[in-house]
Subunit: 390 residues, 2 copies
């Protein structure tokens, strides 16, 4: 039984359209909203009255007249509620508190080295409690919690498999919801990053974008028609395991020549160890060396950039996105990766899909995941009947 149409649905659609316009165009008047949406002034007035009633919109006084009565300007009330977002890493937990506009107001970071379920969950709860406790008073309080995890989850928020944590079948959403009694959303770290870039970063104008998260492996988050694409069973975006060399190095996933064997942090470090024997090799030291002009380090990054480009060409030719955002910790090495990536993309991708394409490095950096996790929570809040239709 699908969603059928009735008057309730109509109101929900229109209210959501009006709210979206206020969010993106504020400050804005009722009359201008009527123009923008195509609804009548009367309808807009009525919907705005309810939005003000529910504390999501505020009147902030008169605006500039354009030859008649002055408009009353409306503002989206971003501080009507707050969301918690968590980047659950392999050896760290990073929690942030944002308002409904996605502005970060509190942060908390924790290192952990015990990846057992019990230990991590305890740390996770502590982190959430920490930032949530610091939330200012507001109409809706904490509206939800979003968590980005290094692994796979299903639509009910169970962590199916997180290789680097050694987790299998952990009902994470249920556990956290029990603890805090507010809605919790679980998703892959790269998916969260993609949403973060889409909502608050480089991708705000792009309907179709692919976020490439370079860490120990490579994960990708795919946004299609402004929505996260999760695949038929929630496992889309494992493009790190696209083979770019069919008879290449064997990967523990069963495939051979996987992209992430050539273009991840691990691949970078492996290469660096080979050409700079004996040295203490880490991403930080390599960046420092490159900054000092060390040619070997720079060549390591450029080599990585070329492999990165090869996989990105595959993404371009198959998805034809408007934007590809390169994120993760290696995005900090943009200076040395950029040239190689663009050169390979220019040379190897098909001209038509490339024509309107942009390849950018993340502006949000590692924060994309946390912000995306917040956005999950905010999105769930707005999708819930609580605000859409009272």
């Amino acid at each position: 039984m699908k969603q059928t149409g009735d008057l309730n649905l109509v109101k929900k659609i229109n209210k959501s359209i009006v709210l979206q316009h206020i969010r993106s165009t504020s400050p804005v008047s009722r009359a201008r909203l009527a123009e923008l949406t195509g609804l009548t002034k009367a309808t807009v007035s009525s919907l705005v009255a309810e939005l003000i009633e529910s504390r999501l919109v505020d009147e902030i006084g008169a605006g500039e007249s354009s030859g008649g009565r002055k408009p009353v300007m409306l503002l989206f009330n971003g501080t009507a509620g707050y969301a918690v977002g968590v980047d659950l890493g392999i050896n760290y937990i990073w929690a942030a508190l944002t308002d409904l506009n996605g502005n970060t107001v509190e942060q908390y970071r924790l290192k952990h080295n015990n990846t057992s379920v019990e230990s991590v969950i305890a740390d996770l709860i502590a982190c959430i409690r920490e930032v949530a406790g610091r939330a200012p008073d507001s109409a809706y309080g904490i509206v939800g919690i979003g968590i980005g995890i290094p692994g796979f989850s299903d639509e009910r928020g169970n962590v199916l498999f997180a290789p680097n944590l050694g987790w299998e079948n952990v009902p994470l959403q249920q556990l956290i919801e029990q603890e805090f009694a507010i809605p919790v959303v679980i998703d892959n770290e790269a998916n969260a990053g993609a949403v973060g870039e889409k909502q608050f970063g480089a991708g705000q104008e792009a309907a179709h974008l692919v976020y490439v998260s370079i860490g120990m492996g490579i994960g990708t988050g795919i946004i299609i028609k402004d929505e996260l694409f999760r695949g038929s069973s929630g496992f889309s975006g494992e493009m790190g395991h696209i083979s770019i060399q069919y008879d290449g190095k064997p990967c523990r996933c069963g495939n051979a020549g996987c992209w992430e064997l050539y273009a991840s942090e691990n691949a970078l470090l492996e290469q660096a160890r080979a050409v700079m024997p004996g040295g203490d090799v880490s991403v930080e030291t390599l960046i420092r060396l490159a900054e000092e002009g060390d040619l070997a380090a720079i060549e390591c990054f450029e080599r990585l950039g070329r492999y990165l480009g090869i996989g990105i060409v595959n993404i371009i030719n198959s998805f034809n996105p408007e934007l590809i955002v390169i994120g993760g910790r290696l995005a900090e090495a943009e200076r040395w990766l950029r040239g190689a990536v663009h050169e390979v993309v220019e040379r190897r991708s098909l001209p038509y899909p490339r024509a309107q394409l942009q390849v950018q490095f993340s502006a949000l950096g590692a924060g994309a995941t946390v912000l995306g996790a917040c956005s999950f929570a905010i999105g769930k809040f707005f999708a819930s009947t609580k605000v859409s239709v009272e």
Copy 2:
């Protein structure tokens, strides 16, 4: 200015839901439709009355009683109109006429060897006129024309580039619409095939499917959430140009090691020429040889199957579809390809996205493109205000 909600929209949504249920469940009664859709019996009655009025639905008399008054059974009237679908090949044109259910009622095939725009357009118009002329009388007549082309097109139906025809910037939709004065839809051959399989073939249950068309090259059509995914500018699905060997054979597209250099008809023939020198080599002869048990021919197919599998693994890991359909002329060699493809997929793809996945060879064969083209026309007809809301 987006689509806002009003009473018209509500009716359009509900009418479309009712019609869809009648299409998929017929024969069906009004009372059962009310149960299925969640609408009230009164609403269903009113909408059905309009659908009968517009000739899309017929009453076919009483059904079996289940302990009360006998229901009046309703049937979708598939012959209320007809659609023309065309597979525009490199050296052939194949046109079909189907009813609104997608049942083929007429066909016409034409060989051509002059690929100039004028010559092909003339042949195309002749083919369409031929099958359209044989259409039975009906309420709506020919509702539209769909054309699958071997190349790229934009949303206005201009052929941007068709390498094997040597076409660039041909306003095909406009030309054909001028000639016949009915709606025309142009899309890529692989996209048409994907829609054909989705509507009438193996993919009717699958919300996410990828159709792999193996011809002289490899094209793919991607269906996401029951809808064709065209990418941000209409060039998605060029997965034939995914590199599966980053330092492999150079491709004329600018990339190296493209999948289609290893797994297309051309690749098969090239390999066959290498191992069976002097022989007259074509797909037909290779299939005949394989049927006769020729080991060299069989090995050629199996080798192709393994390369096919490598690319399919990439599709699985990136898209996580429910279904992958292998189509095009080489689908006829299923007997010898099947084993190798499945073996590679089992061994190399990630377990989670593979779990609920099916890899099938096309049941519609080369007909998928023609049927998909018809489906474009039928879909446009139903989307038009003509029937949705009068």
